[in-house]
Symmetry: C2
Subunit: 333 residues, 2 copies
Amino acid sequence: MDQNLQVRLRSLPLEAVEAAQFELRSAPLPTPAPGEVLVRAHYLSLDPYMRKRLADAVQGRVALAPGDLMMGRTVGEVVESRDPGFRPGEAVLGWGGWQRYAAEPAGRLEKVAPVAGLPLSVHLGVLGRPGITAWLGVVHVAKVQAGERMVVSSAAGAVGSLAGQMGRHLGAQVTGIAGGTRKCRAVVEELGLHACMDYKSPSFVQDLQEATPQGLEVCFENVGAAVLDATFDRMNENGRIAVCGLLGQYHSGPPYAYRNFARVLDRALQVTGFRIDAHPQLHERARADLRAWLQAGVFRQWETVSQGLESAPAAFVAMLEGRGQGKTLVQVT
Amino acid sequence: MDQNLQVRLRSLPLEAVEAAQFELRSAPLPTPAPGEVLVRAHYLSLDPYMRKRLADAVQGRVALAPGDLMMGRTVGEVVESRDPGFRPGEAVLGWGGWQRYAAEPAGRLEKVAPVAGLPLSVHLGVLGRPGITAWLGVVHVAKVQAGERMVVSSAAGAVGSLAGQMGRHLGAQVTGIAGGTRKCRAVVEELGLHACMDYKSPSFVQDLQEATPQGLEVCFENVGAAVLDATFDRMNENGRIAVCGLLGQYHSGPPYAYRNFARVLDRALQVTGFRIDAHPQLHERARADLRAWLQAGVFRQWETVSQGLESAPAAFVAMLEGRGQGKTLVQVT
């Protein structure tokens, strides 16, 4: 059997995240204790919440220090099992982190059923946390209805690309917000959204205004900061804002100062922050919908896959910088 | 019959509101047209929303110009009726504005039943818009439950003093926020709140933190700006913030910039702006509860009453500056 390979944190990012803040290490193959299962990762999921974890570590809010293994969701196969519930060869979803092999407690693993014609990575995308998160925001929090006008920020991202397509499938007119004209064009042409605004454009605030002449009933927010501040101003009476992420403010330095918050009162808005782990009782319902929509061809699944664990740091930085589209994954070889 | 007396706007407030921006005028007694009713005001209600109207007028968002009559809610008696539904001597709630007599369309008037032992002003307080507004925020929006921890800003104000007492009656532990130690003491000693923090104190942010060691489930917000920004930070997971007013930012100049908005995501908060006129279907239920609570002695009713219409400008400024307690009224003589 081969050795284990890991990506560990070399230093905490005080400003931007850089690939040099991580290092590749060889390690002995972990030995599963009783009740544990040795899993070989096929795919590692790279997600925006990891950026927030690093920011929280800088501020001392989470215990994560140089030398530590980076955590992360993985899908892979059982190599060795010391738990009666799992057998070698089975496909499982786990929290293996940025490494090739992980010995995980059986209770933290979930068996996944193969989906015909799709790689295992679907369990980290549409049927995984991005899909469930998008479903929670669109269906449970914002309760998007046919005929409504909706905006989704980070519309080319893992969660945003699914949230936008869900809104469209439910009959809403969906405007995306993304960075760069090329990405915006893809959101319209490939994901089928009504329009997509480039938040990097100097005329963004005015562009959003012109693109939403009748205002908005729903906002699915992934970015926050100036993007959300501009959106506050476009919301109609009784609008709902589902706050899924605030990627635009996961940095050191003073927090972004919102100037249009008063619209919450002026327009009687409902602003709701939500997190996937706070709603475990809804995950089954979400997965059932997602599986049905997947089979009905509702989603164009965007994946940005890099090859080999050694590519993880650069792939993570690229995701944070907004390069790539949809779900960012590492194919662990 | 005597002449009419009015308070009209002399100039729009670019900065602070001052009494000199209003002027007293004599006018002929209005003649009711068919379908109208001539009402003599007993009490005129002075409210924070009037400040917002003036600010909106400065920015051209509402049509209100020098020379115009100031609008406002009044309770009074019918003097002459040209509508079959009203008869002289009946007590009515209307929108007479800052004047002694008003000819109002019958459809804008509401008959009010006398409450034993209480002056007509109760219909501008507990049984009027302040009471209904407090009820909507506490019962309908925030859904305060026994055992919860709640904060209410402008706790000595017309709406805040009722919202705080309602929360306490429903079994919550209620912390008030008000301006000045004397006012804070009265909120605790007379209204029976658990504690009251002085937002004018330089240690306010720390005081609030120390007064709420277990955090807060509910916030009833009347002030916004730095007060709400400090409260964001004290909210517990899944907390609810009912935004009733943002009096702290009804001024010209740049809007207040909120720095702790990210708590909406961190703590999965629900922030809901609401306005009394958006929920007409709930007013009857609110009034039934308010009447029952009033009879059960739940409320200490604070009123600050000034005598004579000519006192309205100074009374309005005093209310905006936070002098006075509870409902601000002018007894129109």
